[in-house]
Assembly symmetry: C2
Homo-oligomer: 141 residues x 2
DNA sequence: TATTGTCAACGAAATGTTTCGTAGTTTGAT
DNA sequence: ATCAAACTACGAAACATTTCGTTGACAATA
């Protein structure tokens, strides 16, 4: 089984984010998530227009293209088709982060971490979480 | 003075990385760096073709476009023009990281840090560096 | 049943990015 | 002085992305 190396564009990523947020099974400890249903074009359009003005058919077209690319799946059993992400958020974030580290930081994760801490200051609790993760990583070497 | 919010494309970023590496003054503690000279089209082309095949004039054109966009500056006093980054690496990385956090991680720096640590495992020394930075950040709250 | 609203499909324009061929200039050897 | 090599500039093709108008199907309602 081959992995699809298709990277979403920024617009596509925005839509994926909305779909991931709509996903009814965000919890549960196993990786895949997915409570199946998820969003219609109208729902996605409603969310997206909170941030920037864009036509309904633009969003529709985007989702159709994303279906072609294999970024989303859809259920056509109802008149209003229901779209859902083809890949879980975590997996996509991992791929994007890997690419980003390579293109913007010459492969140095450390540099990115430092930049991230400086760019959008995490709260004290978040810092504590990060520290905890570091402990784990050093512990289980 | 207004800041130019021009974001380099991936190809442009690749070229910028090469120019930053060529910059003769990477050290010194003040932010701006820049020992002025830096690279010719031929140098950039030579570097870039180590990674992927691309024509000389393609690189030339890219650099001309980047000049238009204000991403690079050039010295035309010699026949072979010499290009150098208009913005220091650190500043660009900060901007890109900010954007990336917002588009891929809904604004959560913490999430990105965690992802980065998982995506490209830093070495033990690097982890120590990160831990040191965390100490500083929590110390000077 | 006629009208109005909601939807998917499609085509195509507008825009942005990447690529390279060609032309013309300058430099350095024969 | 001729020729070849090394450059820049420019135009335009090839792609990819984003945007939306129009069409036709279907559904709800008057």
């Amino acid at each position: 089984m081959a992995r699809q190396p298709i990277t979403p564009t920024d617009s596509e990523l925005q839509i994926l984010s909305i779909l991931w947020d709509l996903d009814p099974a965000p919890g549960s400890s196993h990786g895949s998530s997915h409570g199946l249903p998820t969003g219609t074009v109208r729902q996605v359009h409603a969310e997206i227009t909170k941030h920037r003005p864009v036509g309904y058919t633009t969003v529709l077209k985007l989702l159709q293209i994303m279906l072609d690319k294999g970024l989303v799946l859809r259920d056509e059993s109802e008149r209003s088709h229901v779209y859902r992400p083809a890949v879980p958020r975590a997996k996509t974030q991992r791929r994007l982060t890997r690419d980003f580290i390579d293109t913007a930081f010459s492969g140095s994760a450390k540099s990115l971490v430092i930049e991230a801490l400086g760019a959008r200051r995490p709260s004290a609790e978040e810092l504590a979480d990060i520290r905890r993760l570091l402990d784990e990583m050093e512990g289980s070497k």
